[in-house]
């Protein structure tokens, strides 16, 4: 019984939150990695792209709620998501046309692109704050829990409860669907294959008649969709605040880099590596250990490796350790 309690406690406080957060990071990191693979630069504006897509989703959600449209037990934001994606696609296409295309034609150095993306980041950040304000916005509605801790306890008779929030369920299901679609697209469709070819060897791809403009455009469209989905899921699960999304850039990058920039599989693995290490290193293991150890050996401290305040720093420590031993990430990413 104690063993089961330990597993439930572990799932409740570590596994479920880490899988959810990891899925959100993985979707964000996939966007970063695609831009790196195809356009060959680190897009510092990615966090704010996520914020923009999410912001539109939130505005539409509010509109739907005001109009009395709901999605039953599911959050209304899911209905608004397509609008957010389309708006975000428009934004990144306009940005590419007005900003990045010029440097692509100039064949500017990758580092120039990075600096340019910092400018774009400033603008997008300002835009979002300008439209929706810098404060915290809540837009989650529908059922709060798939199963609440109390129901779980009654159902199983265990001492530990397992709470599963609706947003956590939605996050994982959506992430699986989105990732499956993405890989199907990259591996099975003509456009997807040409994207991969372009990423692997630009010159060869151009020689074989791949239209670079089209590849770039499709990449931006996919990235906008990924960013909006990731941002909305994160916002539903936690809350939406423009500055948080700017900060999210860091763990998202950490995930993409730990996996190896340019490698979609790596981005997913990186997302979970970062999420699990963040949660596990800052979790107080006392509860789980108390169930597992005989009474005489029970720990008296919290058995916490680092205080929760260090959550943010952990992703970078992991990043640095990985980079020290594998300078281009776990899945051997590219370096331009």
């Amino acid at each position: 019984m104690d063993f089961l309690n330990a597993i439930v406690a572990l799932s409740n406080f570590v596994l479920v939150p880490a899988v959810t957060y990891g899925s959100q990071l993985a979707l964000g990191a996939l966007g970063v990695t695609l831009i790196y693979g195809i356009l060959r630069f680190s897009n510092f504006a990615h966090g704010d792209t996520m914020a923009f897509g999410t912001m539109v989703t939130i505005l539409v959600t509010w509109g739907l709620q005001a109009a009395g449209v709901g999605f039953g037990p599911l959050p209304t934001a899911l209905l608004a998501l397509p609008f957010g994606i389309v708006a975000c696609m428009a934004l990144v296409l306009v940005t590419d046309r007005m900003v990045y295309r010029f440097y692509r034609e100039q064949k500017a150095k990758p580092v120039i692109f990075v600096i340019v993306s910092i400018g774009v980041m400033f603008i997008m950040n300002g835009l979002v704050r300008f439209i929706i304000g810098p404060g915290d916005q809540r837009f989650a509605d529908g059922e709060r829990f798939i199963i609440s801790a109390r129901d779980f306890k009654e159902l199983t008779g265990l001492r530990e409860g397992l709470a599963l929030k609706t947003t956590q369920g939605i996050t994982v299901v959506t992430a699986v669907i989105v990732v499956a679609l993405l890989f199907w697209f990259l591996n099975r469709t003509r456009t997807g294959k040409s994207m991969r070819a372009y990423s692997d060897n630009e010159d060869l791809a151009l020689l074989s008649g791949i239209n670079p403009d089209r590849v770039v455009m499709v990449t931006w469209l996919i990235v906008a969709a990924l960013a909006t989905v990731a941002g909305t899921l994160y916002g539903l699960d936690k809350s939406f605040k423009p500055f948080t999304y700017f900060q999210l850039l860091l763990p998202v990058f950490a995930a993409a880099i730990v996996g190896g920039l340019g490698s979609p599989l790596g981005a997913i693995a990186g997302g979970y590596v970062i999420a699990f290490s963040e949660v596990m290193i800052t979790y107080a293991w006392k509860k789980v250990l108390t169930y597992l150890t005989p009474e005489a050996l029970e720990p008296d401290g919290l058995v916490q490796l680092l205080s929760t305040n260090y959550k943010f720093a952990v992703s970078f420590v992991i990043l640095l350790i990985v980079l020290l031993f594998r300078p281009t990430g776990l899945f051997r990413g590219k370096a331009v």
């Binding site: 790196y36 630069f41 680190s42 900003v99 010029f102 990758p110 580092v111 120039i112 990075v114 600096i115 340019v116 910092i118 400018g119 774009v120 980041m121 400033f122 603008i123 997008m124 950040n125 300002g126 835009l127 704050r129 300008f130 439209i131 304000g133 810098p134 700017f246 860091l250 990058f253 950490a254 880099i257 920039l261 490796l305 205080s307 305040n309 260090y310 943010f312 720093a313 992703s315 970078f316 420590v317 990043l319 640095l320 980079l323 020290l324 300078p327 281009t328 370096a335 331009v336």
Partner: protein, 434 residues
């Protein structure tokens, strides 16, 4: 010659902007802009050393600035003897133990051959070492933080004159840069950028959470000053008489005098660093750095030790940022870890260097002043623009309220637009480097 005229003109323009603030708004505001402009100019000189001279993409400026700020506390504040008695030994012993574990791990890693035995040994040393470190360290920390947490709760500083914190801030930042450079400079392109970004966040996380060091988010305020206090000046009959003779109100005059005092001190530092940077740029060393920046492979083929030179310039640039950070806490009179935000301390400095002209020291200084001026003034300007835009709207309408309220966020938007425009139409900045 015309280039000379253009550059002088640009500096005159910035001077006019700041003087204009003095005439239109208030001299207090003008001096505030000038003081932070001086500090920003030092920071952008530091970043220019790294990016403009050597092409190192450092997005961790914030971390070095924050370390410099920490120096202000460590040097200037008086020590807390009770805290030292309670847990000083524990904390110091813990830190020494932690460092020893890392050194032992590194030595063992280098001595043992590849294989599962090495992995096992590393795990034993690091995990065991971590718990030993926490056992010693946590006890000390707890004792220190329990000493009057409302007022102190930290070890305090050395109680030395605060100006000494400036070089110390530089040394602290240089030390961190050495450590980081040793590990991270081997990384390629974007990997280095993200690594520096992450390291800055780690430094900040430590400053926010280690209360025994600088009170964490409880902040340290009331740092000693290198210039007299306004109240003392106002109570000084000689000073009051002097300013009254000039026809000034003693209260205003005292605050202006204090700010001018700071400006004088900062200007000395800026001129000193600018001179050194200028000498460095035009020396054989500077030529070598630029050669490495422009073509690393060729420079390596010429027998230049690229990694060493990169490390060197990374340390120098970071030290300059550290000095600026210490100057800033001195000016503020307080150390607030949460105030260090990458949007302001890393990316804004980048805008300064790019707009001013990377690779040119005068450009970096100009960018520092100009961008800081805009950073401060865009907000009131945005408000003013919004007032005009919304003037025809009905009073109390939601849109009008929203637009007026949002004017405060014009800042980031404007910075982004400026950066993109400069990169597009004058990619080498206002005063291009060579």
């Amino acid at each position: 010659m015309s280039e000379m005229v253009k550059n002088t003109g640009l500096f005159v323009l910035v001077a006019v902007l700041i003087l204009g603030t003095g005439f239109v708004q208030s001299w207090n505001t003008a001096l505030l802009i000038l003081n932070m402009g001086l500090i920003s100019a030092v920071m952008s000189l530091g970043l220019n050393l790294q990016w403009g001279f050597a092409g190192l993409f450092n997005v961790g400026v914030m971390g070095f600035v924050a370390l410099g700020g920490l120096a202000g506390v460590l040097v200037g504040m008086p020590p807390v003897p009770e805290a030292w008695a309670a847990g000083g030994v524990g904390v110091i012993a813990g830190l020494v133990l932690g460092a020893a574990v890392i050194v032992v791990a590194a030595v063992v890693f280098n001595r043992m051959g590849r294989g599962p035995m090495r992995v096992l040994a590393m795990l034993v040393i690091l995990v065991g070492g971590f718990f030993a470190f926490r056992a010693v360290f946590d006890a000390g920390v707890e004792a220190v933080e329990d000493v009057n947490p409302a007022a102190t709760g930290y070890l305090g500083g050395l109680g030395l004159p605060i100006v000494l914190a400036w070089p110390v801030g530089g040394i602290l930042a240089a030390g961190a840069a050495w450590l980081i450079g040793k590990t991270a400079l081997g990384l390629r392109s974007d990997y280095l950028a993200i690594a520096t970004l992450g390291i800055a966040e780690i430094i900040l996380a430590v400053l926010k959470n280690e209360d025994w060091l600088a009170r964490g988010v409880k902040n340290v305020n009331g740092l000693p000053r290198p210039v007299p206090y306004e109240v003392d000046l106002q109570n000084d009959p000689g000073f009051v008489e002097q300013v009254s003779a000039l026809g000034l109100d003693p209260v205003t005059a005292s605050s202006l005098t204090v700010k001018l005092g700071y400006a004088g001190l900062f200007a000395v530092v800026l001129v000193l660093i600018l001179t050194l940077a200028q000498l460095a740029l035009n020396s054989p060393w500077g030529r070598m750095m630029r050669a490495i920046r422009d073509n690393e492979t060729a420079a390596r083929a010429m027998g230049k030790d690229v990694t060493r030179r990169h490390l060197q310039v990374f340390i120098l640039g970071s030290a300059v940022c550290g000095i600026a950070g210490a100057m800033m806490t001195t000016l503020d009179g307080q150390f607030i870890p949460t105030a260090y935000q990458p949007l302001r301390f890393t990316f804004l400095i980048w805008v300064m260097v790019i707009v001013g002209g990377s690779g040119n020291n005068f450009g970096a200084v100009l960018g520092g002043f100009l961008i800081w001026f805009l950073w401060v003034q865009v907000e009131p300007m945005g408000h003013w623009v919004m007032q005009i835009v919304t003037a025809p709207m009905a009073d109390g309408s939601a849109l009008k309220e929203h637009l007026l309220g949002s004017a405060a966020h014009m800042r980031l938007l404007t910075m982004g637009v400026i950066l993109l425009l400069v990169l597009r139409f004058s990619p080498r900045g206002l005063i291009p480097g060579r």
